[in-house]
């Protein structure tokens, strides 16, 4: 019989504690919501990724070269550890889309005659594979961005010739789960696409008959990736190979993996706050309940209930919180999880992205929540169990108050008697005050944690545009062109300044450490692409020697004056040992900078440029665009500021939703903590407060005495929470791959303000809620009632 008298007692008491139980259940549910949504999204993405990579044979090693005879494929296949090899033709093209200021950038890839590559197979979502020379399969995101369907046509400039292709099919590929054009900051489905076409047609267009320029491999189980790559690099070197990359460095996979890593960290960090606060609140409420029920505990013991039975009875409250909290949390988590996963689905394209709520996930969420609540309950319940029955018969010892250190400093005159009551209440229970503040601080830090990413990104961009990348447009060529193009572009009406850049793939080695990198040749003077050292001073590009990003220097253990070995991975593949003359503090990438002249000498030519940076008269931007669109050798025109704006625009709806969710969750925690503290304060001090009302105190005055504690807790929590949020953000960033990104954590004043305002509102709302009870305090009844 589960509904025995003791369980009835529990149920009736939960009714009187419904406000408190509800707020705790909400906090507990919030933790489950976050855990289920984030961890579930993480697990679903990871499972989709693994399944996708496996079924569509995502390659383990990728390499590109200039023109490799097809016969070399056999030798690649013969390398020990290679399972399968797929060669193809891969070329950059542009798509002059109507209405787009710069042409969109496209990567055109060949499909084998069978249409089914042995690596990196495509997932055809609509239509069919290309059957004619003028047919392509188009990447889904781009097709969606323009509403393109099979049967429609797209204009493509292939090797300088504008052609129109019929869309045969629309597809996804494991290589382009996250499709981003080289050098871009974020994905932009309108300006970047991938097209697949028959190999013969593509090879003909680029004069690559009987040859390939792109190869990918699957490794045999247990094969050494390093030795395969070395072998492959050796084979491709004579054909313009510029170094293979491993799957982990493949751009789409790297970004997906990073996002997954972050999500993994977030999915444990965020619920931790709720778990902690749940434990605290359960302890608070149950502790109070047990103190109030001393005589009942004594009676239960007197009539023969054992300690275990009494302990179980009070632990029952945990289940009263756990049950609705879990149901609410699981339902909310499932909803939020679907939503978050769908958001990821718009950026990360998988064939089957389904939110997978596993039994393990549900069990973990419920068990962790239960353990937290039980841990919170444990101390309180233990005190009930340990209470000797004869002692429990006696009323508890009256609260002991004493003059605190603060009072001895003479503040009493300043804060008056009411202030004194508040102060003494706090000094009597400093630990509870600290824990309450810590709970509220946790909520504040959640708000900061949910915003710092975007703040840091904006701060990074703004800083970069102000200090380092001061161009309006970056014009990228399909292959390095003669330096004369800089002067040509400078003469275009509307162009104020034009400066050429040269980027050369290199491998840099120092002692036993090596990294693939890009060596950038900068012009003199370099007014648009500047180098900035730690703390902001401009670093001049030396005539002799190189400057490295700090990250690269750290990874290789380089100091000023060292001479690392730099191997150029194209042309004659020379190796030099330039002296390191300085470091620059850049958040992204691992680059080496030198003067254009130094680089030309290294390449053994007269200098070439791979891109040109332009400063443009804002009033004549359209004219400049029009001019650039006409040049067939230009593969991409990027406008970093525009990119940033587009990214912010794309993120706005996501951020709005995320902001709303984080506000709701944080406000729930603040409300829960303040409400429960105030209710308990009221229960414990109703007599005192009623006495004061009898003495003539106003409602406002007694409200201050009751809620002053909570006000102080919130006041204490705010600076701690802001600090904690920042510390947490830093901790979070340190989990991100330091070699790729080295963001400075930046938190906008707006974010701090939002956190504080949300906290104050939630605290005020819960305080007002409790104040209603003060307004209806029945003076006579309270004074009569025994504690």
């Amino acid at each position: 019989m589960w509904l025995n008298a003791l369980n009835r007692k529990l149920l009736r008491e939960t009714r009187t504690l419904k406000g408190q139980i509800f707020t705790i259940a909400v906090v507990l549910a919030s933790g489950i919501v976050c855990f289920i949504a984030l961890r579930g999204t993480y697990a679903s993405l990871l499972a989709s990724e693994l399944d996708y990579y496996d079924r569509f044979r995502f390659a383990d090693v990728f390499a590109q070269a200039e023109r490799v005879p097809e016969t070399l494929a056999r030798r690649v296949e013969a390398l020990p550890g290679v399972a399968t090899v797929q060669t193809r033709v891969a070329k950059d093209v542009t798509l002059p889309i109507e209405g787009l200021s710069h042409p969109a950038y496209g990567r055109m890839l060949s499909l084998p005659p069978s249409g089914v590559p042995t690596t990196n197979a495509i997932y055809l979502k609509k239509g069919r594979l290309p059957e004619r020379d003028d047919e392509v399969v188009l990447l889904e995101a781009f097709a969606e961005a323009y509403g393109l369907e099979p049967g429609h046509h797209v204009p493509v400039v292939v090797n300088g010739k504008r052609r129109s292709f019929r869309i045969a099919g629309i597809a996804l590929s494991p290589e382009f789960v996250y499709a981003i054009r080289p050098g871009a900051l974020v994905d932009d489905p309108k300006r970047h696409t991938v097209l697949w076409m028959q190999r013969s047609a593509l090879a003909t267009a680029f004069q690559l008959g009987g040859a390939f320029d792109d190869v990918s491999l699957k490794l045999a189980p247990g094969a050494s990736e390093k030795s395969v790559r070395e072998g492959l690099d050796r084979l491709l070197a004579p054909f313009g190979g510029n170094g293979s990359i491993a799957r982990k460095d493949q751009i789409s996979n790297r970004i997906v993996s990073q996002e997954l890593d972050q999500l993994g960290v977030l999915s444990t960090m965020v619920p931790a706050v709720f778990v902690g606060v749940t434990a605290f609140l359960v302890n608070l409420v149950l502790g109070r309940m047990i103190r109030l029920q001393r005589p009942e505990i004594a009676t239960l013991k007197a009539i023969g209930y054992s300690n275990v039975e009494i302990g179980r009875h009070y632990l029952g409250l945990v289940f009263v919180v756990l049950l609705p909290g879990s149901v609410l949390g699981l339902a909310g988590g499932l909803m939020l999880g679907h939503f978050v996963l769908a958001l990821y689905g718009t950026t990360f394209r998988f064939p089957n992205l389904e939110f997978n709520l596993t039994a393990g996930l549900v069990a973990t969420a419920v068990v962790v929540s239960a353990v937290a609540a039980l841990a919170g309950a444990w101390g309180a319940v233990r005190s009930a169990v340990r209470l000797p029955p004869a002692e429990a018969m006696q009323p508890p010892a009256p609260a002991r108050y004493r003059r605190s250190v603060v009072e001895r400093l003479g503040v009493s005159a300043l804060i008056g008697t009411s202030g004194m009551m508040v102060l003494r209440e706090i000094t009597r229970r400093p630990f509870r005050t600290l824990l309450s503040s810590f709970g509220i601080a946790g909520a504040i830090s959640l708000l900061i944690l949910s915003h710092f990413g975007l703040d840091s990104l904006i701060s990074y961009f703004e800083g970069t545009f102000r200090r380092e990348q001061r161009q309006d447009l970056a014009v990228v060529f399909a292959k390095p062109v003669a330096p004369g193009v800089v002067a040509e572009l400078a003469r275009v009406p509307g162009v104020l300044t034009a400066e050429g850049l040269r980027a050369v793939p290199v491998r840099i080695r120092y002692e036993h450490r090596a990294r693939d990198s890009v060596m950038m040749g900068l012009p003199r003077p370099n007014t648009l692409r500047r180098l900035v050292g730690h703390g902001g001073p401009e670093v001049a590009v030396p005539a002799d020697g190189v400057v490295l990003t700090q990250t690269l220097g750290d990874v290789l253990g380089l100091r000023i004056g060292d001479r690392p070995e730099v191997e150029v991975r194209e042309g004659d593949r020379r190796t030099v040992r330039p002296v390191v003359v300085g470091f620059v503090d850049e958040s992204v990438g691992m680059s080496i900078y030198a003067q254009a002249g130094t680089l030309a000498a290294l390449e053994g030519d007269l200098g070439a440029v791979s891109s040109v940076l332009l400063k443009v008269d804002p009033l004549r931007t359209a004219q400049v665009d029009a001019q650039l669109r006409r040049s067939p050798s230009i593969i991409d025109v990027s406008d970093a500021r525009g990119d940033m704006q587009r990214m912010l625009d794309m993120n706005t709806s996501f951020m709005n939703v995320w902001t709303a969710i984080s506000i709701a969750l944080s406000a729930g925690v603040v409300f829960g903590v303040v409400y429960n503290n105030a209710r308990i304060g009221l229960a414990a001090r109703a007599r005192d407060l009623a006495s004061l009302r009898v003495l003539g105190f106003t409602r406002g005055e007694i409200s201050w005495i009751l809620l002053g504690n909570q006000a102080l807790e919130v006041a204490l929590a705010i600076p701690v929470g802001l600090w904690l949020g920042r510390a947490w953000a830093r901790q979070f960033m340190s989990t991100v791959d330091q070699e790729t990104f080295r963001w400075q954590v930046a938190i906008a004043p707006r974010t701090y303000l939002l956190s504080v305002v949300v906290t104050l509102f939630a605290a005020a709302a819960s305080a007002l809620w409790v104040r209603r009870s003060l307004d209806t305090l029945d003076l006579v009844a309270v004074l009569k009632a025994r504690e």
């Binding site: 008298a5 009835r8 004594a298 007197a302 009539i303 023969g304 209930y305 000797p388």
Partner: protein, 254 residues
Amino acid sequence: MDLARHDAAAVSAPAVRAAERSAILACVGLRKIYRMGEVDVRALDGVDFELRAGEFLVLLGPSGSGKSTLLNILGGLDVPSEGRVFFGAEELTDAADDQLTAYRRHHVGFVFQFYNLVPSLTARENVALVTDIADDPLDPEEALGLVGLAERLDHFPTQLSGGEQQRVAIARAIAKRPSVLLCDEPTGALDFRTGILVLEVLDRINRELGTATAVITHNAPIAAAADRVVTLGDGRVYGTRTNATRARASDLRW
């Protein structure tokens, strides 16, 4: 209704002289010392005492004389600093916590001055607290019928008068068919008329069920209703007397 057969420790009839009965609860040389700050307080200072099967005993003494301490130790709520306690042949002196719990659960009924009802439970449910865990209990309705509250089964404590609450407490105490009923100032919080009513119930329970009953009081006239009276002061037993006749509760006056 004859319920005496249910009581293991009950004897033939209340009319038998108290002196002829065997002790159901006894203690020898009982001392209890509480340390309060720097001072040792001797709540009990060498008490020898026995409660005999079926008798109605009044433990008389002023406030602070050690009555409640003695009752708590006899009821297994507290342990002595020195001396020995027996329940029948079983020694309780060094009993472990779970043994004391079992003792209270199966053999002792408590009635307290302030009733100690669970406010969130109805009269019936307060009694059910005991019947849920006892081995061979009365039905809660039956127990409440015995104290004259058959009509008020589903009232919450706040809906009952003080006397009614105390009768619920008595029903709760007897529902397990205890061997001993220990009552700590059962009339202490009640007015005269209600106090008499409660004593009548205790008296009737003792006579009908034969439950050995010890009533603590500082109210001397109540002693007239007892078979035996033990007087306590300063933690010692000052005297024991046996009443030649046991007054009816309704005849008491104070």
